[in-house]
Structures are given as C-alpha cells and as structure tokens.
Symmetry: C2
C-alpha cells in the first residue's frame, strides 16, 4: 500500500516522477543506456539541463538579469557560500532569526564578515514571524528564511526592503508565485518541492556575481557556475532529471498559481481540524502559519504516542514532530495530494471519537 | 539494444544496479514509499549508509585509524577542500603533474599554502608517469592522481614516500586492491566505479582530521562529516544507494583481487589489438598504460571519423577521445564486461579488413 507521506524532507514527489525516474534507470528514452551511465556532456543531459533551467525561469518568471545555477551540497553549504561570495570582511549582513536554519546561516556568516540579528522569535520558541524590524541601511544584505520547517511559520509576502534580500526558500520554493525582483539571491536545497536530495538551486542577480573581493576557489565561486552553465564539473545527472520531471508536472498542473491554490486548500483543511478538535492545538500563531509544515501538539501530552500509533493503520507516514517542538508535523509539500490530508483529518476525528 | 558503454564518466555501472535502482524509485523494499521520498534519518537510509561504509572498509581493508566520509561535489570540490583542511598558509604541498586534474588540484592549493610541481610529464603530452622524482621532506604532503582519464596512464604501486601522500583515485578506486596505509588521504568522485554522479568518497587518516589551523565553515570541514557520520546535513540518498548496490556486486563477484584480474584481462585484450593492428597506436607508454582508460589514435588521422562511424552498428558508445589527445578512449571500468571489449576488438579487426 502506498503510504501518505507527510515527511519533512527528503519528501514526497509526484508519483509520475517516481515512475519516470525508474524507467530512466533502466533505459533513458530508448537510447540503450541507463540515465545513470550517460555523460554530463551528452546531448541527452544537455537537453535535460537546458529544459530544467528554462522551466525554472518560466515558472518563477525569473527576470533576465538573474542567473539560475545548480550546485551540490544543500542549503547548509550555502550558509557558507553566500557570505564567501557576497560579503567582504568589513561588511555586515542582517538576519531575521526564525528557526535553527537562520541561526546556522548567521553563525557561518561570522567567518566572512559582521552579522546582526535584527529580529528573532526565539523567545516564543519561534512560533511567529517577526515583522516590526528595521534593517540597517548600511548592511550589505538582509537574510530571511521564508519557510521554517521545524516551527511551521512562513513569510508569504515578497517585500521591498531598503537593502538587498537573500532568502532561503528551501522548503517553500515553487509552492506559490514569487516576485523574484524583490530578492538579490534565492537559494533552495531541492529535496522538498523540486527533486530528490543532492542538488541546490541558486537564483542570483547578475550584478552580484563576483561581488566579494576575496580570492575564491573555483567550486565555491558562483561566477564559475554561471560562466559554465553549471557544468564546470560533473553535476548530479540523475538528481537534475528528477527536478526536470517535477518541473514538467508543475507546468502541466497549471504552474505556481494553481499550486498555491492547492496548497492553500490543503493547509485550510488541516488547520481547520486542528482548531476544531479539542485534542490538538497548533504551534504557530494563525497569521504566520506555514502551508508547507503544519505543526501541532496534543492538548494532553500523554496522547502523543497513542496518536502516532493510532494513525499507522491509515498508512500515515512521517508526522512525528521535531524534538524541539514535540507533537506532530504534517508536511504538505506540493506533491502531497489533498486526499492524504483528508485521511489525516479523518484519523484525527476518529481519534477524538475513540476517547 | 543495450549499448557497449565505453564512456569516461559518468559511466557504466552493473546492470543489476540499474535494475535495483529502478525498483527502489518505485517502492523501496516494499515499504510503500519510493527511495526518493524517504528521510535521511529513517531506519532504511541509516541501514543503507552503514552497510555502504562497512563494505568500503571491508573491500579496501581500511585500517581502523581512518575515517570514511561521503561528501558532495566531486573531485573538483576536493581540490579546494584538501588544502583548506590540511595545509596551513606557511606549508608546502608537492605535486606530480600527470593530467589536467592534477594541474587543477595544484592551482587550487595555491590559495591555501605553497605548492611545488616536483615532476611532470606535460612535455610529452602526459603519456607517461614520472618516476624519478624526489619529494621535499619538509613538504606537508605529496599529491598524486593515480589514474589519468584523459591521457590513459596509471600508478599501480602504493609506494611509501618520506611524507604523507594524498591521492585522487576518482577513476580507479575499487579496480584493484590498495594498501590504504600508504596514504593519508584518498579521494574519489564516485561516478566511475562506485555509483552514479553526485557523491565523493574520502578516506582520511584520523590524525589529519582538524589538521589545518584556519577557522573552517562547517560544510567544508572534514571533522564535521567524521563526527556526524556524514549526516550533518541531508546527503544524496539515492546516489548513496547506487554505491551500496555497486559495493554489494563487487563483494559478490569476489572483491578487489577478482576485479583486478578482470580489469587486467580486459586491458590486455584491447592493448594487444592496439599493438597488433597497423591502423591504431596507443598514446601512453606501455609500462604506464591505464587499465581504466585506454587511449589510442589512428595511424592515419583521416581514419578517425570513419572509425567512429564504423563502430556505431556494433552498439559501441563513448569511445571518442578527449580533444587534447584526439583519437579514441575506451574506458573499461569495473562494470564493463569483457564481452564489450571483445566487440570493440572485433570492430577494429573488421575496420582493418575493410581497408
């Protein structure tokens, strides 16, 4: 039985991505070779890469003065690479602290320049998004984490700030339309809404390529990736193909506006049950509730283990919360069908009735 | 028709790896989830990672005072990470230059310390392995590239030097038994003999963890990978699974001694034909001929295009040589069966007869 996968990441992808990836492992497009054994310089992979980049540009309406790069290493690697590439020793980056991911990004940035945490919701166990903060107009950039997987909060607005914005969109990219022009750099580990684990997407304003003055290693220099169309070295061929398949699925379904509608519907369904059901309570404040990661706890803590057991016969997978929040986390990424959310709601209601 | 894949990399893997990878994309071990959607913290992936590390240790007889790490980014990334982690600003690394890969490694190292190219075969278009070189006893390490994909030369001996040795084994690791104790650090982009593109294997002597004194970013610090069993961040789950499947296949076939015998037999078959057939001539000097990448050219340069056309009906794929050598390169990695080499030899003989 196919499980209802609410895992936080690596996470569910569309069923047709699994099927087409499997076929490509056996024989890619009938060429007599597995996708796993073709050269990254082959015409087949060149076509995969180019179509992927074109679809990202089309779906996100990326302006022409931005470069789209594929790198390895996940968002954690970018916590270093961003200040390494952008920030000079005597410059400052501002951070809004909304999760351990923004904390990690800030800590790594200290190796390359100065940092300021200008706002934080740490004192409330990160259950809200700080809004009344003032950026330092002399800072080089403001760093935001748009969706916070552990605590289930999300920025939904692409705001204009007085300084350039860097945004970690690892867990909500492609879940809604984004006004790319409001950001100088967007980065995203792909293993939520884009593809399987092992690739990172960077969208960077061209004027920022080569910004920091330090001498750079080639593989840590965004300019090298931009100049070589992400083919300076061997990229993860199979992983990029899973991105292409997911992007094709996104386009076929109607793009990011349609995806946003679906994600709103899924989140509304589950939050309504959390708010109605006396056995559960949400973690994040209502106005900042993430559509991607829906965190809730039992009103009676002794129920938590029982509920995790209770949902197993429903085929519900991956809803155990992160240890710093406890309770439950239902991740509702793009590929999770609303039917899975309905099954979880049914299970919550049945659990209530069993009491 | 399944092609005979002589591509230089990403390259052929065992047929059963393709089949089992495909099955895992659909459903991993009957758990109701694709391998592409499972968490890197799941018990399933933990088992994949642990078995992979254990098989590497077993097959290569890695001594207990070494750590085995999985990183992303390929060998190119290690050209930076090795000096970053090992070499202090005032220290020197010695290089033997045998290919563009060792050249790139040396160039990147200059960012972190001093370098010396103590031997090079550049003047002979890298057609041999320099042997009469003297290491600087005050250097921190000697860097070697054990197999040179473009020029088709290979070091076969694990020699003891007066200083620690760092070796790029990207294209011949697992092709023969290796005396790991002769090296302080071995690195290998996996996409030849280990798995699909997107993972790098590091085998490092524990006393070298944390060696360089510079403050380090977490994702660029070998110690972080060692402490976290390569799970500080999300690793490329699927890619590591292809490594596990390949390692299981290696063990089942009899391990690295058996693999060395097979590779010797394949190389002997093809080099014998190159030496016999008046239409072809080898690039590398006989004593340094690689078993992995067999480079040869036409004795009549005008035949080259014709031969590339001639072999197509045989299902022979990927034998066009790199532009700096020209001619042909038949890569004979572990997973290439001797039957494929025989087909190439047959084609060479038929081409001769067609003249």
């Amino acid at each position: 039985m196919k499980k209802h996968n609410f895992g936080a990441g690596p996470s569910i992808l569309p069923q047709e991505v699994f099927e087409q990836s499997a076929q490509a492992c056996l024989d890619y497009n009938g060429i007599g070779l597995s996708l796993l054994e073709i050269s990254h310089r082959s015409k087949e992979f060149t076509a995969i890469l180019e179509e992927s980049l074109a679809l990202i540009k089309e779906l996100l309406h990326v302006p022409d003065d931005y470069s789209i790069l594929f790198l390895q290493g996940g968002a954690n690697m970018q916590f270093n690479m961003i200040p390494y590439n952008i920030l000079n020793d005597d410059e400052t980056a501002d951070f809004v602290e909304t999760d351990i991911w923004s904390t990690r990004a800030e800590e790594e940035t200290r190796l390359y320049g100065k940092t300021n945490i200008i706002a934080s919701s740490k004192e409330a166990n990160f259950n809200y998004i700080p809004k009344d903060f003032k950026v330092d107009e002399h800072a080089t950039y403001l760093h935001l984490t748009s969706n916070n997987t552990i605590y289930g909060t999300e920025f939904f607005e692409d705001k204009q700030y007085a300084i350039p914005v860097v945004c970690d969109m690892s867990s909500d990219i492609f879940s809604r339309p984004v006004d790319i022009s409001k950001y100088h750099l967007i980065y995203a580990g792909a293993q939520k809404n884009l593809g399987c684990a092992g690739i990172t997407l960077i969208i960077i304003k061209n004027e920022w390529l080569g910004r920091s003055k330090r001498p750079k290693s080639k593989m840590w220099d965004y300019s090298i990736y931009a100049k070589n169309n992400s083919l300076y070295n061997t990229p993860p061929v199979f992983t990029i193909y899973t991105c292409l398949l997911t992007l094709r699925w996104l386009k076929k379904l109607g793009g990011l506006s349609e995806m946003e509608n679906r994600n709103k519907a899924k989140a509304a369904l589950l939050y309504a049950e959390i708010d109605r059901n006396p056995l559960f309570t949400g973690h994040a404040v209502p106005e900042d509730r993430s559509r991607m990661n829906i965190n809730f706890v039992s009103t009676h803590p002794e129920d938590e283990e029982a509920f995790l057991e209770f949902v197993k016969p429903y085929g519900i997978h991956g809803i155990k919360g992160y240890r710093t929040v406890g309770g439950f986390r239902a991740s509702c990424y793009n590929a999770l069908p609303i039917e899975s959310v309905q099954v979880l709601v049914d299970a919550m209601q049945a659990f209530e009735q069993s009491k």
